[in-house]
Amino acid sequence: MAESAQSPLAQFEIKELMPISVGETSIAFTNSAAFMALSVLLITLFLVLGMRKSSLVPGRWQSMAEISYEFVANLLVETVGNEGRKYFPFVFSLFMFILFGNMLGMIPYSFTFTSHIIVTFTMAIVVFLGVTILGFVRHGWHFFSFFVPPGVSVVLWPLMIPIEIISYLSRPVSLGVRLFANLTAGHTMLKVFAGFVVSMGVIGGILPLAFVVALTGLELLIAFLQAYVFTILTCFYINDAIHLH
């Protein structure tokens, strides 16, 4: 079998599965969209079928569904307090979508839709705009007092307020880039070392293979951790908007 030297970045290529065009623009159904749809379908099946019996003493599947619900609910109540409960549907959807997206990407030959900056940045911008609008709706113009750090004398305000504003505006960027870079770097490393396994033959390929196994374990941890971090930072930002400081 001829070895085609494929770049390790070829796995992130968007492929159109069903070309659809509206005039000049293409709104094709891509592999990214397919995996997003699959992620939503799997989440729905997981929760609906898990709660089908809804007995008081849960079986295994119901237990898993309840654990995922409680995990995010506790996260929200711990960071925001009881007022945070009304944001649970959004935060839960965010957590499950990113988690299932990351995990689906661990399947060989699949596509990780969270490894594209446009996807993660869109999610981060939605969170950022939502939280900012929430802050303005709750506090009106008083929301701008958020940029004055507590316990700072008036003399330092011209220095501190621009710094606070810049760090606030960098939130969606850091949120999006964190998820994108983690997933892209992880999958690229896996591909690179997998290439070494093939090119170093049967004997020489054992060491890279062991490394790929260890890296896959790390990537599974990172997949869960990044979904968790995105969600908990969203909860922190909601808390900032509701209780300024």
């Binding site: 880039v177 964190r178 870079a181 983690n182």
Partner: protein
């Protein structure tokens, strides 16, 4: 200097930034280990924060990686 050479040198320099993340992650887990060693009962409280801290510090390493990739593939 031609642009291609400058890109490669720039990417190599940008990758030096991951040193900070290495120091940071070492700090986080050193604090975690010594706090659990002093007070094992505190482990459940500290573990969650440790992982959040790890993810935030690793993000800095990845910002450096993103700058390197930006130099190599976008410019």
């Amino acid at each position: 200097m031609e642009a291609a050479a400058a890109k490669l040198i720039g990417a190599g320099l940008a990758a030096i930034g991951v040193i900070g993340a290495g120091v940071g992650i070492g700090n986080i887990f050193a604090a975690f280990i010594s706090s659990v060693a002093r007070n094992p009962a505190a482990a459940p409280h500290v573990t969650a924060m440790t992982w959040i801290g790890f993810a935030l510090v690793e993000a800095i390493a990845l910002y450096a990686l993103v700058v390197a990739l930006l130099l190599l593939f976008v410019f």
